[in-house]
Symmetry: C2
Subunit: 301 residues, 2 copies
C-alpha cells in the first residue's frame, strides 16, 4: 500500500486531463457501463458534520476506487479545513490496495468544481459574460476560478453572508442583483432553505447547483425548478436528495424530464436563449473514480 | 494520518477485550444507539471477487470507523491471500483521519470469527463437546480455533472439498457425519447452494452460519431454517441477504421471529435441549467499529 501525500497529488493534477476523464466517466455512467456502490453516509450532530463514502468502477478497468470525504462545518473556527478525506485505488484483479491518495478532501473539492465547469459549459449561453457565485467557501473559490476559466469569463459577482470572504472571490453584490445580472450562477452553500427563489426567475437564467448534496439541503426553490429544464449528474441520486428531490417532493416537477449529464455530453442540447436551465449536481462516485485514476496514472507511470 | 501495519495491529490484539467490545457494540446496536452507513458493495466477474465497505459509530463516541474489505477467491491460485482491506479511524469531532489500520483484511476475518464465538456461546447447549466446521478457508481455520476456545471444546470435525486443507483444521469427515455428530456447527463457505439440508435436521442442532454474506450465497437450506429458531446479527441486513433472506424468499420462515444478537446478549434465552437454533451472521459495521476501536485504543495509549 503506497500512501501518497497532498503535495505529490497536487503536483500530479492536470485539470484538462481530469475534465476529459470525468466527461468520459459521465458518458459511460449514463450508458450503463459503470458500477457504483450505494453511497455511505454518516451524520454527526455535535459538532455538525457528515461523512460520505462513494466508490465504483468502469467495466473493463483494472482498478476500482473508494473515496471517503467528510465535512465538519465548524472546523474553520478552530483553524482547520472543513474538508477531510482520501481516495483509495484498488486492483480490480486481486483486491490489493494499490494506493491511498491522502488528499485531505482536495480531490473531492476539485472534481466537484471541475464538474461544475463541465455542467456550466454544457448549459451556458455562448455569449455568457458574467459569472455569479453564491457562497464563499472552498467550493465557491474553486468554482469561481474553474468555471470562469472554462467559459472564458472575467466578471465574477459573489453573494455570501461573509462579505470579506466574498470579496476575495469576486465583486460582492446583493443576492437579487446577482440573480438579475449573472449569465451563469453557481450555488455552493449547505443551505437548508432555498436561496434562489421563484421570484428571481428570468428568461435565459442558467444555474449550476452544487451545494445541496444530502437530504435536507436545498438552495433552489421548487418554484424556480418548476420553470426550468433540469440536468442532473445522476438521476437515481437526484430524485433521492438535493434540489431536484426537493422540487419533486413539493410537486413542482416530475422525475420524467430529467436529463443526465452523461446524456447531455453524448448528445448536446442547444437550449433556447430564453430557457431556464438548472444543473443539479449531487456528486457521483464516477467523478471520484476518474479523478483518482488520473492521479494514479501519473504516479504509476 | 498514521498508517499502522499488520504486525503492529496483530501485536495489539487482545481477543477477550475485543469480544467484550463487540458484545457491547451489538447490545447498543440492537438498542438503537448505533449509526451505520448503507453497506457499499462492488462485485467483479473476472476474476470473481467482491468488495464491501462498511462504517458507523456508537453515539457519544469521539471517533467513527469505515472499513473496506475485499475477497478475490482465486487469489490463492497465484499465491495471494483472498482477503484484502483496511480500516480507517476518523475523528467524529473534526473528520480528521486518525489512522489507517492496514490489516490486509485480518481484522475483518478476526471480528467475524470472534462474533462466531460470541454467537456459538449464546446458542450452544452447555454440554457441547464436538465442534463441526464446514469449509477450509481462513474463516474455517479461525472459527475452529476461536469457537473451540470460547466453548472449551477439544474435538473438531471438518468437512471441506479440499481434504488436505480440512485435515489441518480438524478431523475430516463426510458432511452427513458432521451434521449428525457435531454439537455446534459453523459454516464458512461462499456456497451458492445449501450445504446443510432439511434432511440433516436433528433435535438440538446448533448452527452458526457465517459464509453467506451477500445476495446469492446460501449455506443453510430454507427447509432447515424452517425448523429452527433464527438469531441474526442485524435484522435489517439479514432480511435482505444471507441464509435468512433465502429462507424468507422461499416462504420457509417469516421475518417476525428473528432474534437479534444484541437482544440475545441483553436478554439471554435458555433454548430447549431439542430446539434447533441457527445464528445467521452476515457481518455488521458495528463489529468493524468495535475491533478498530480496540486496536486504536492500544496504539493511541
Amino acid at each position: 500500500m503506497r500512501v501518497v501525500g497532498p503535495d505529490t497529488i497536487r503536483a500530479a493534477v492536470d485539470e484538462d486531463e481530469i475534465v476529459a476523464l470525468i466527461e468520459d466517466g459521465f458518458r459511460r455512467f449514463s450508458a450503463g457501463e459503470a458500477d457504483v456502490m450505494a453511497v455511505g453516509h454518516l451524520a454527526f450532530a455535535t459538532p455538525p458534520g457528515d461523512c460520505h463514502v462513494k466508490g465504483g468502477y468502469l467495466r473493463g478497468d483494472d482498478l476500482f476506487v473508494v473515496k471517503l470525504a467528510s465535512s465538519f462545518y465548524r472546523n474553520p473556527e478552530i483553524g482547520l479545513s472543513s474538508s477531510n478525506g482520501f481516495s483509495v485505488v484498488v486492483s480490480a484483479e486481486t483486491g490489493a490496495v494499490l494506493a491511498i491518495l491522502d488528499d485531505g478532501g482536495y480531490l473531492t473539492d476539485l472534481r466537484t468544481a471541475l464538474t461544475g465547469g463541465i455542467a456550466a459549459r454544457l448549459i451556458a449561453r455562448p455569449d455568457a459574460r458574467v459569472l455569479g457565485i453564491v457562497g464563499s467557501g472552498i467550493q465557491a473559490t474553486l468554482q469561481a476560478r474553474i468555471v470562469a476559466r472554462m467559459l472564458g469569463i472575467e466578471t465574477i459577482l459573489v453573494w455570501a453572508r461573509d462579505l470579506a470572504r466574498a470579496a476575495t472571490i469576486g465583486q460582492p453584490v446583493e443576492l437579487d442583483e446577482l440573480a438579475a445580472c449573472a449569465d451563469v450562477i453557481v450555488t455552493t452553500t449547505p443551505s437548508a432553505t432555498p436561496l434562489l427563489t421563484a421570484g428571481m426567475a428570468r428568461p435565459g437564467m442558467r444555474i449550476v447547483a452544487v451545494g445541496a448534496d444530502s437530504p435536507g439541503k436545498n438552495e433552489i426553490a421548487p418554484g424556480l425548478m418548476a420553470r426550468a429544464r433540469t440536468v442532473v449528474d445522476s438521476r437515481n441520486q437526484c430524485v433521492d436528495h438535493g434540489d431536484t428531490a426537493s422540487a419533486i417532493a413539493a410537486g413542482a416537477i416530475g422525475d420524467d424530464g430529467l436529463i443526465e449529464l452523461g446524456e447531455l455530453l453524448t448528445s448536446p442540447i442547444a437550449f433556447g436563449d430564453d430557457e431556464i436551465v438548472i444543473a443539479d449536481l449531487t456528486g457521483d462516485a464516477i467523478q471520484d473514480v476518474q479523478i483518482a485514476k488520473a492521479i494514479w496514472a501519473k504516479l504509476a507511470a
